[in-house]
Subunit: 241 residues, 2 copies
DNA sequence: AAGCCAGTTGCGAGTTCCCGCACATGGCAT
DNA sequence: ATGCCATGTGCGGGAACTCGCAACTGGCTT
C-alpha cells in the first residue's frame, strides 16, 4: 500500500508522515507533495495510492486537487486534514465526492489517536470518517429556514463574484424575477434585514454587498471558494462568447 | 529578558520556542499564548517582555492583539511571524505600528537562520526587520496609479462591509458625489472595467460587488481585515445612535 | 376532482447606483 | 499674480436593484 501526503507546511508534513507510518505499518511507501498541482501529478504516477491532504494550499487548493484526482479515478480514498470546519470547505468537499467513494475529514486540532484511527478506518476498512464538529456544521447547514439550499448557495456565489441579476438569470436559466426572489430569501436567511431593523437606518446597507460580507464572516464563503467560483465563471463566459 | 510567543498551532509554537531559545541565550523566560486574547493578558503581566506572534489566530487575530498591546505600551517590540505577505496583513500592520516602534515581519517559509537573525536584530539591536517579499509588496502598494491610497482603501472597506454610498459619505464626512468619485477611481485601479471590456458583456458585472471580490482575490482584503472593519463599523453605528 | 403549497414569472414603483458635465476650492510651481 | 492639477461638490439621466401584488405552473394530499 502506498500513501500520498499533500501538505505545504513542512512541520505539518513531517508530522503527518510520522503518523502515517505509525498508524499503517502495512504501508510500503509514503510519497510527499507540497501543493495541489504536484499532488495531481504524483497521483497519476502512483495509481493505487491513497491520499491524505490539507485543504488550504497555495498553488492549487485541496478541493481542486481532489476534484481532478477523483475525476481520473473515482474509487480513490482521500482523507482531508484541515485546520477549519468552515462551511465553505465542507460544502466544497461534499459537492465533489463521487457517489460511494470513501473519504474522511479530520481537523488538525484532533488528537494523534483520532488521526490514526481515521487513517485505518478509511484506508483499511474503506469507511467514511467525518469529524464530529464537521458533521454538526453540515447538519446545521441543511436545516430548512436556516441553511441555504444548494440553489441559493449557487446564487450567493454569483453575486459574490459581482454578477448582475440579469447575467445570473442567464447563467442559471431563470427569469430575472426568480433570481431576485432567490436573493430575497438569501437576505432573509442571512439576517441582512435585521441588522438595519432596530435603528432608523433603513438605508445604511446595500443588501447585495452586505450579503456577501455576512457570508464571508460566517465562513460560508472564503478565499478558496471564490477562487474556484471565479474559474468556473471564466469558463462559462468564454464558452458563451 | 522575557519573550512572549503567541501562536495557535502547537507544532509551530514548539518550533518557535526552540528557535527563540537558540537565538537568544540571554533570554530568561519564554511565555506561550495560544491566541490573541491570552496574549493581551500575558503581555500585561509580563510588562517588559518582547513579543513574537502569528497573525492568523482564531480568538483574536495578531493585528488586534498587537493594537491593544501597543496601545498600552508603545515601545514594546513585536515580531510578526506569518504564513503570508497578503497586502491586507501588511496594511493592517503598518497602520497600527506606533511612531518609532521597532517591529519585524518574517514569513514562516523563511529559513531558520533568517528567523534567528530577525529575533536578534529586533530584540537586541532594536532594529526593524521586514522580509524582502513583504517590503516588495508594500512598495508596489504605494505606487501611484496602481496601489490604492489610504483614503481609497478606507472606502473599499466600507463597500465591502455593504454600506451604501450615502452612509459612507456620512461616515467619512464627504458628499455623496465625492464618494462616488472615489469609487470610480477604485474601479479603475482594480481593472474592473477591463473585465467586461473585451466582450459585449457590458452589463455582466455589478461594479460595486465585483470590486470587493477583486480585492479579495488580490488579497487586499481577507477575513481578518473584514472582521476588524466590521467591529469598527459597529462601534461607529452605536455612537451615532 | 378539488385544494393546497412551493417555486416561477410579469408588472410597476420607489430607491440606489454609475457616471458625464460643469464648477468651486486649494495647494504649488512659474 | 497666474496657471495648473488634484480633489470636492452639484445636477441630471440612464441603468440596476429591491420588492409588493398578482397570476400561473406542477406536484402533492384528501
Amino acid at each position: 500500500m502506498e500513501v500520498l501526503i499533500v501538505e505545504d507546511d513542512p512541520l505539518h508534513r513531517s508530522y503527518l508522515n510520522e503518523q502515517v507510518r505509525a498508524a499503517l505499518p502495512e504501508c510500503t511507501a509514503v510519497i510527499e507533495a507540497t501543493d495541489g498541482l504536484e499532488a495531481e501529478q504524483l497521483a497519476r504516477e502512483h495509481n493505487s495510492a491513497h491520499v491524505v491532504m490539507d485543504l488550504q494550499m497555495s498553488k492549487r487548493n485541496g478541493i481542486e486537487a481532489a476534484r481532478t484526482i477523483w475525476r481520473e479515478k473515482p474509487d480513490r480514498r482521500i482523507l482531508f486534514w484541515s485546520n477549519y470546519s468552515d462551511e465553505a470547505y465542507v460544502r466544497g468537499v461534499s459537492r465533489i465526492v463521487p457517489n460511494g467513494a470513501a473519504y474522511g475529514y479530520v481537523l488538525k486540532s484532533a488528537a494523534d489517536e483520532r488521526l490514526k484511527l481515521a487513517l485505518r478506518s478509511i484506508f483499511i476498512e474503506n469507511q467514511c470518517v467525518i469529524d464530529n464538529e464537521v458533521r454538526g456544521m453540515q447538519q446545521r447547514s441543511v436545516t430548512p429556514n436556516i441553511g441555504l439550499t444548494e440553489a441559493e448557495y449557487e446564487i450567493l456565489m454569483d453575486i459574490a463574484l459581482g454578477m448582475t441579476d440579469r447575467s445570473i438569470a442567464q447563467r442559471r436559466h431563470l427569469s430575472l424575477r426568480s433570481v431576485q426572489n432567490r436573493l430575497m430569501q438569501i437576505y432573509g436567511k442571512l439576517d441582512i434585514y435585521q441588522v438595519s431593523g432596530p435603528q432608523r437606518d433603513e438605508g445604511t446597507f446595500n443588501l447585495r454587498a452586505r450579503a456577501v460580507t455576512e457570508a464571508i464572516l460566517r465562513k460560508l464563503l472564503n478565499y478558496g471558494a471564490l477562487e474556484r467560483a471565479e474559474a468556473d465563471l471564466k469558463a462559462w463566459l468564454s464558452e458563451k462568447g
